[in-house]
Amino acid sequence: MSQKVLLNSKEVNITLHRLACQLIENHDDFSNTVLIGIQPRGKFLADRLAQLLSQEYNIKNIQLGHLDITFFRDDFRRGEKPLEANTTEINFIVENKDVVFIDDVLYTGRSIRSALTAIQSFGRPNNIELLTLIDRRFSRHLPIQPNYRGRQVDAIDLQKVKVNWVENEGEDTVYLIDK
């Protein structure tokens, strides 16, 4: 199994700052915006961006939630592994809000499809955007594209993109792994 570094710690940091600035361009003071991290891995990126926006760019009262999509996935009983649920923490209604879905890697688009259904349980948003750190080009199964992307990569199906975070794995690094 060989692996290659796609983004190192410094590059991850620069990319996060750029994504934060792009969000500010479109969402101004975030008064009508909610950030939703897609569980399990999008949570870390969402938490980090919310922290960056409030501490470095002085944006107050950011509404942040975590959405679990397990029960909305389209591969229940189809995969080898059972689907394990994570926590949903959304303590607000998204009715008429500008929602930004945040996930670490966009691959087939099926997780985002599930998230689009799952979020309906919390109301009808004004619109939904997608932010992703890594966009795996040419691998989509569904017509879903990100509004904000950190880095676009060409990876074949046999490869895996792994995003590590300081909070979880002890380093901010993105790897491309040959399985």
Binding site: T70, F72, R77, K81, P82, E84, T87, S121, G123
Partner: protein, 309 residues
């Protein structure tokens, strides 16, 4: 990734500690789901479940049906009183006829102990036991333990007393298994005539004095006196039973601690429990009912994930 060690939920006896932990963790997520503005998830949209109730039930039947519908399963209901069982059809024939209509899962309540186990050997569908005679009622025991965990933080090391008609109770046996698996200390308390002869062999304490039992416990699970299952007289009068084994405010006030009061329902107000206790803050009877839906969603979801396509 974890999954249940069993393909059916026939009794707590067949589960291990990991299974119970997995069911509770999954139920935590479903409890969040059923408190959303929209309380439904699409997971089981290609699963059909038959609820076969050969014995009367209100709470359990509604709870199962609601859990199934919240998971988007298709549901068919059957109650023995309105069916061909009256015409002499056997259990296997009845169920096989229903399964021919392409049903994936069966939830069954039956007056005979072991009916679920018997069925699991003869048919090809996932079975959930919703109570079989005086044997087991696994989902009730799971929701009882889940409610204790929610109220007291954990089940391990807690003293739980099951009070009343243990002899006729399927809730009691399932609870004893479930509580012991999780490391709780279990006591049964009731008139000698309503305690099974060899109950001590299960490793539970036996007490016939209610005051002593209450002084020992953190949680008291009150059982209903099951008059419909009593073919002979087990105690002189209901009034005497209430005096000896009924819980009232005065008894609780005399304890120097707040114990948790549970009841699987239906309550006989004024018999095993007075109204002021049943409606007090110490009673978590209605929390048990809410948790019942989450627990049943978790059990159905986890078993359905093991059904091959």
């Amino acid at each position: 990734m974890s999954e249940l060690s069993v393909n059916h939920l026939l009794g707590i006896k067949y589960l291990n500690k990991k299974d119970i932990d997995l069911i509770f963790e999954t139920a935590d997520q479903f409890k969040e789901v059923i408190n959303r503005p929209i309380k439904k998830v699409p997971s089981l949209r290609d699963i059909t479940i038959a609820n076969l109730f050969f014995e009367n039930s209100t709470r359990t039947k509604l709870s199962f049906e609601l859990a199934e519908k919240r998971l988007s399963a298709d549901v068919i209901n059957f109650s023995a009183s309105q069916s061909s069982v009256k015409k002499g059809e056997t259990l296997i024939d009845t169920v096989n006829n229903i399964l021919s209509m392409k049903v994936d899962m069966v939830v069954m309540r039956h007056p005979n102990p072991g009916a679920g186990v018997f069925l699991s050997k003869h048919i090809n569908a996932s079975i959930i036991n919703a109570g079989d005679g005086a044997h087991e009622h696994p989902t009730q025991a799971l929701l009882d333990s889940y409610s204790i965990r929610e109220k007291l933080g954990s089940v391990k090391g807690k003293n739980v007393v099951i009070i009343g008609d243990v002899l006729h109770s399927r809730v009691a046996l399932s609870n004893i298994y479930a509580l012991q698996l999780q490391g709780a200390n279990v006591m049964v308390c009731g008139p000698k005539t309503l305690l099974p002869k060899y109950i001590k062999d299960l490793g539970v304490k036996v007490e016939t004095n209610l005051q002593k039992a209450l002084a020992w416990c953190d949680v008291a699970n009150m059982l209903r006196v099951q008059n419909e299952r009593m073919d002979i007289s087990y105690f002189p009068t209901t009034r005497e039973y209430t005096q000896q084994f009924g819980i009232n405010k005065e008894l609780l006030d005399n304890l120097n601690k707040d114990i948790v009061i549970m009841h699987p329902g239906p309550i006989n107000r004024g018999v095993e429990i007075t109204s002021d206790v049943a409606d007090s803050k110490q009673a978590i009877i209605l929390d048990q009912v809410e948790n019942g839906v989450a627990i049943r969603m978790a059990v159905i979801y986890l078993l359905a994930s093991k059904i091959k396509q």
